[in-house]
């Protein structure tokens, strides 16, 4: 099990968290490569269906940030 790495679907708001993720890059902060970012225009766009769909498609975690 020690080899197992989770896959996390990250829904990031274009205006804040996505920008923050860009800034983390600019600052060269290092973090684990397990997230796959899906940019959304606002967390207001977020639908519970997206979360369910992510789990159904094999995501081990879902992160919504905005």
């Amino acid at each position: 099990m020690s080899e197992w790495e989770p896959k996390i679907a990250a829904f990031l708001c274009n205006w804040c968290s996505y920008g923050a993720a860009d800034l983390a890059g600019v600052s060269r902060l290092q973090y684990p490569p397990n997230i796959r970012v899906i940019r959304i225009p606002c967390t207001g766009r977020m639908s519970p269906k997206f979360i369910l769909s992510a789990f159904r498609n094999g995501a081990d975690g879902v992160w919504v940030s905005g």
Binding site: K7, A9, N14, Y18, G19, A21, D22, L23, A24, G25, V26, S27, R28, L29, Q30, Y31, P33, R36, V37, I38, R39, I40, P41, C42, G44, R45, M46, S47, K49, F50, S53, A54, N57, G58, A59
Partner: protein, 1083 residues
């Protein structure tokens, strides 16, 4: 071209190239320790030995310095070669057993322990340092001695001036034999050479001679510092040119002098932070733990020298106690010549203390030593109160000296409290809140331009033309005009643009070029033909991610017709190449895997549009900021992640549709609501820039609050100036004044507003493109201090009325008392009214001028004469005006006893109650907004808790609303004096003109759209939309009456309605359900 065989494969190289260079080009790895791309090869380490077959026999040659020739055959991977290399490693390891690089190599070649006798050297005599030193043009070191005595040394073992301690030798040493520390010991201690201080990190960190000034710099291109670059010292080096893949470095570029014909000049030259090194009493130059506020900003910053970890410089210990000293280099004519208040330091010190606590936890003890806390900006007073509740200590005391505590790195201070008590306290760190001042070169510039400066060396301006310098056509904004914070600087800059625009409006658009629009190609119904462009971003992406691998992977994805990788996808020439590729391959969907869409999406969309492709048929995926930069040590995983991201983007883009953008015309008329000084300035600015303007005033005359104001703090007569302004407004042709008029309705949206104006029973409809709210505020009618009980107790505006009318009462006064913060900085009104301190000090001086013998008292909580207004405060003290401080808990009491007005207050120095019999009490009453909810509703703009309108952005958008086409200025935004009101009025006009000048704008294509067949008319979208974009289709409409529709001009594309539509009737173009689901499925 020379053709030869490399490991049996035919390869080509150029005449004069060495085997190693060609092998590198073809991706064949040959190990080497002494090779450097920028230096002539020397064949020192022998590790690159390969086998060469010349047609007759085989022999071993060193790949780094053996030139290629036609027909040769090279083998890099034979058993013989490996055996030879293993032996070399073994010998080197024996010489330098402790060098990590050799230990790694030994492991690779399966050597556990060298068979040869171990020595304890750490130099492998690769000669890189010597060759590099030569290349630098210095020739300070040499390989001296022969055979086994050979060492790297200076000739005759003597230190000479040839060594300039540039550190180039250390930078190439593979083993750690030469280090910067050793250079420092041997050379720099005598030469006083130090690291190149990073300007951005305030010298807390070093930087290279080639550097990007800071991560967010625009343009984000490195620059060469000619003062430190070795090439400019010796003519040597130029190593950088060998590494720059695009040959962008030109050392022979010279400064150019450009001559520009301009109609006006705007000075936005800023300030310099005060340098406290000359204050020996604070020991800033001596104690590393005494830092300036600018240095502390960097220490707090995540991109700063300590990566945002709050530690002190001397021992990297986390501080437990930090003190801030206010007014260092401000309000000080004793130790420096800065009489002014720098306006921003109180607020930034409070901010730093709160952020420091956020970094280090609540037990960090923060103490701010101050004279007056000046939090006069919008929402600043609340922030100050918040700091107090979070435990930041505010100590009213000016500390004289900082003493280091012997044997420690701590700092001891002694200070006196109001009560006279002497306190000794030790801090781990002390932050000097340094002030703002005009640098000498700017004073020189002002002289050269022949513009006047104030006594404090700021640019001299008039209250009624706040951005106009003393020379026509030259304008000023920002801290050169006077010390000020970001919002005020932003206001100023827009105002200066407006002032220049007024002058130059006849020439508007005469130098603009119109871009040709390529007709759009219809791709609807076509099978997707996707092009994927993967960016190397130099080595930013390519250095971590296997870009060719990602590119080849993209080729395997469905509908992908074309893939390529670019060195810099965003470069101008790549755009041309992309256009060609799109057209030639008839691509109809594009994916760019590069940096962030937030910065580069508009560029690529434009490239698409230039080929006739709808710009929304594009998807960008971020494999730099969110991948290569953050997973540097995991190239394999980062490559896999890049592939995943490309797959997700490709899947989404296949589902993208061309989106239309509605074109909106911008009505070329402006409406300004409010006929005070602000509104008039705004309207005048519009009219002078050639726009028809309506100025709406609900009373019967123009002027607003200014009608009852006497003089500005600079001594200008307000009534005279006001009359002049009203004259100008009345004479302006493009400007229509509507007195006794109120707004009865507002319809429409940016560029297309329509309002009914109600004026004395009549109604008038006007159409306009932009609106400015300048509805002002008014003086609070006090409810305390016996106001209204006696004619001798008046408000500031009432006193001004007496001064304007030369009321004879004023000539016979013996005593006057001013009471500050009446209705301001109270729990029910927790903001500072900004104008009252200066107003009272100014009125007090006026009374003193009229009756030099009279006693004048100003009872205050803090005196907030910010900027150069501080000189007025000084003048008042010199004139004998007495300032007595009180607290909110212990306010003065006004009583009328036997017809005598008495003010009782506790003197803050004596600690004793005082009773002042007075002829006049002036209550410096708050500025209160009308809380015009109706107007707010009309334009869908927000009000804050205090009743002021809320701007788009507190710092960067102070004169506009988040609602497009609606702007804001004057007291409706926040209390402010006349000069700032006028500047903001001009700023609002400036921001609005940026819209008006476009004549048409395009709405965003990525917006919500209702499928009326599915809509159940529930109205959730209408109630939930923050922008009022959805509405019901009228009942009498021919199609879908009663269903929801969305106004594309108002929709911001947030998708809130989409997620909340219970019928699933709303989709969000560009982020539709199927597109997001497709991305999720592709994860």
């Amino acid at each position: 071209m020379i053709t030869f065989k490399l490991n049996g494969k035919e390869v080509q190289g150029e005449e004069g190239q060495y085997i190693l260079q060609v092998a590198e080009k073809y991706g064949v790895e040959i190990p080497t320790m002494c090779h450097h791309k920028a230096l002539e090869p020397a064949g020192m380490c022998r590790l690159c030995t390969v086998e060469m077959f010349d047609g007759r026999r085989s022999r071993f040659v060193t790949a780094c310095n053996y030139p290629i020739w036609e027909g040769m055959q090279i083998f890099t991977d034979t058993e013989e070669v490996h055996k030879g290399r293993k032996l070399i490693v073994e010998m080197l390891l024996a010489r330098c057993p402790e060098v990590p690089m050799l230990q790694d190599l030994a492991k690779k070649y399966g050597i556990e322990k060298s068979r040869f006798k171990a020595e304890d050297d750490d130099c492998i005599l690769c000669g890189l340092c010597v060759r590099m030193c030569q290349r630098m043009g210095n020739n300070a070191i040499e390989l001296t001695g022969r055979g086994i005595e050979m060492v790297v040394d200076t000739p005759f073992h003597v230190q000479t001036d040839f060594c300039v301690a540039c550190g180039a030798c250390a930078s190439v040493c593979p083993t750690g034999h030469i280090t910067l520390e050793k250079i420092n010991q041997n050379v720099t201690s005598r030469k006083n050479v130090r690291k190149i201080p990073s300007e951005y990190d305030m010298g807390l960190k070093g930087r290279k001679p080639i550097f990007v000034p800071y991560a967010q710099a625009v343009p984000n291109t490195p620059a060469i510092d000619r003062d430190t670059c070795m090439h400019f010292k010796t003519g040597g080096c130029k190593v950088c040119t060998e590494f720059c893949g695009v040959n962008a470095i030109k050392h022979d570029m010279e400064d150019e002098i450009l001559e520009l014909d301009v109609g006006s000049i705007i000075l936005a030259t800023g300030f310099e932070p005060f340098d406290p090194s000359k204050f020996d009493n604070y020991g800033y130059a001596k104690h590393p733990n005494v830092v300036t506020a600018m240095e502390f900003e960097r220490i707090l910053s995540a991109s700063g020298p300590t990566m945002g970890h709050l530690v002190r410089s001397s021992d990297h210990k986390e501080p437990k106690k930090i003190a801030w000293f206010q007014c260092v280099g401000s309000r000080d004519i004793n130790r420096c010549d800065n009489a002014h208040c720098s306006s921003v330091c109180c607020m930034y010190a409070i901010k730093e203390s709160i952020i420091a606590k956020e970094h280090s936890g609540d037990d960090l003890d923060c103490a701010v030593f101050y004279m007056d806390i000046r939090t006069h900006g919008k929402d600043f007073e609340r922030y100050y109160e918040r700091a107090k509740t979070q435990g930041v200590r505010f100590v009213r005391s000016r500390v004289h000296t900082i003493n280091p505590v012997p044997e420690t790195d701590d700092l001891e201070v002694r200070y006196v409290l109001d009560s006279g008590e002497l306190v000794k306290e030790t801090f781990d760190m002390i932050v000097l809140s340094i002030g703002l001042q005009t640098p000498p070169e700017l004073i020189q510039l002002a002289n050269d331009l022949n513009i006047d400066l104030t006594t404090g060396n700021f640019c001299k301006t008039d209250t009624f033309s706040p951005v106009q310098t003393s020379r026509e056509g030259i304008f000023v904004c920002g801290a050169f005009q006077g010390p000020k914070d970001i919002p005020q600087s932003v206001v100023d800059s827009s105002a200066a643009a407006s002032a220049a625009g007024e002058m130059l409006s006849p020439a508007r658009n005469t130098l603009t070029k119109i871009k040709e629009v390529v007709p759009e190609v219809n791709v609807i119904g076509e099978r997707p033909r996707i092009g994927v462009f993967v960016c190397n971003c130099g080595i930013n992406i390519g250095g971590v991610v296997n870009v060719p691998g990602v590119r080849d992977y993209a080729k395997t994805l469905p509908y992908v017709e074309y893939v390529t990788d670019n060195m810099y996808t965003c470069s101008q020439d790549t755009q041309e190449v992309m256009k060609d590729i799109i057209t030639k391959n008839r691509l109809n969907r594009i994916v760019v895997a590069a940096c962030s869409p937030k910065t580069h999406e508009p560029l690529f969309r434009e490239t698409l549009a230039d080929t006739g492709l709808n710009k929304y048929l594009f998807e960008m995926t971020n494999i730099r900021n969110q991948n290569s930069w953050v997973h540097k040590n995991n190239p394999d995983i980062a490559t896999q992640k890049a592939k995943d991201l490309v797959r997700m983007a490709v899947t989404k883009v296949a589902l993208k549709e061309p989106l239309p953008e509605a074109e909106l015309s911008i009505g070329q008329t402006a409406m300004v609501i409010g006929g005070g000084i602000t509104g008039m300035s705004t309207a005048l600015s519009f009219a002078r820039q050639g726009y028809e303007t309506h100025l709406i005033e609900n009373t019967d005359r123009l002027g607003g609050n200014a009608l009852t104001l006497y003089k500005t703090w600079k001594g200008e007569n307000i009534q005279e100036k006001l009359k002049g302004l009203i004259d100008q407004v009345s004479r302006e042709e493009n400007l229509k004044i509507h007195l006794n008029t109120t707004l009865a309705s507002v319809e429409g949206f940016v560029g297309n507003f329509k309002s009914t104006l109600a004026s004395q029973g009549k109604e008038d409809v006007i159409e306009y493109g932009v609106a400015v709210i300048a509805t002002g505020a008014s003086e609070f009618k006090p409810v305390e201090y016996m106001y209204g009980k006696d004619p001798r107790i008046v408000t500031s505006q009432e006193l001004d009325r007496k001064l304007i009318g030369n009321d004879p009462v004023l000539n016979s006064l013996n005593t006057a008392v001013f009471i500050q913060c009446v209705g301001s900085r109270e729990p029910e009104r927790p903001y500072c009214s900004r104008v009252c301190c200066t107003h009272s000090v100014d009125s007090a001086l006026e009374l003193k001028r009229r009756n030099p013998g009279m006693n004048v008292y100003i009872l205050n909580r803090d005196i907030r004469t910010y900027g150069e207004r501080e000189t007025l405060y000084k003048e008042a003290r010199e004139a004998g005006i007495i300032f007595i401080r009180f607290t909110r808990e212990n306010k003065p009491v006004v009583a009328i006893e036997d017809g005598v007005v008495k003010v009782k207050v506790t003197d803050h120095i004596l600690g004793m109650p005082l009773e002042i019999e007075t002829d006049l009490v002036n209550l410096a009453s708050a500025v209160i907004p009308p809380r015009d909810e109706k107007l707010a509703q009309f334009f869908k703009v927000p009000l804050n808790d205090d009743g002021f309108f809320v701007e788009r952005h507190a710092k960067l958008g102070p004169s506009e609303f988040a609602t497009d086409g609606v702007f804001l200025a004057g007291l409706a935004h926040y209390p402010k004096p006349i000069d700032e009101s006028i500047a903001q009025g001009m700023a609002a006009a400036s921001r609005a003109v940026t819209l008006l000048a476009q004549k048409t704008i395009h709405t965003n294509g990525e917006i919500a759209k209702v499928n009326p067949a599915l809509c159940s008319s529930c109205g959730v979208c209408i109630s939930i939309c923050p922008y009022k974009a959805p509405s019901f289709i009228p009942d009498d409409a021919r199609f879908f009456p009663g269903k929801a529709e969305i106004n594309p001009a108002l929709c911001k594309g947030c998708g809130l309605c989409v997620a909340s539509c219970r019928s699933g009737a709303i989709g969000l173009k560009g982020f539709d359900n199927d597109q997001i689901f497709a991305m999720i499925e592709a994860i």
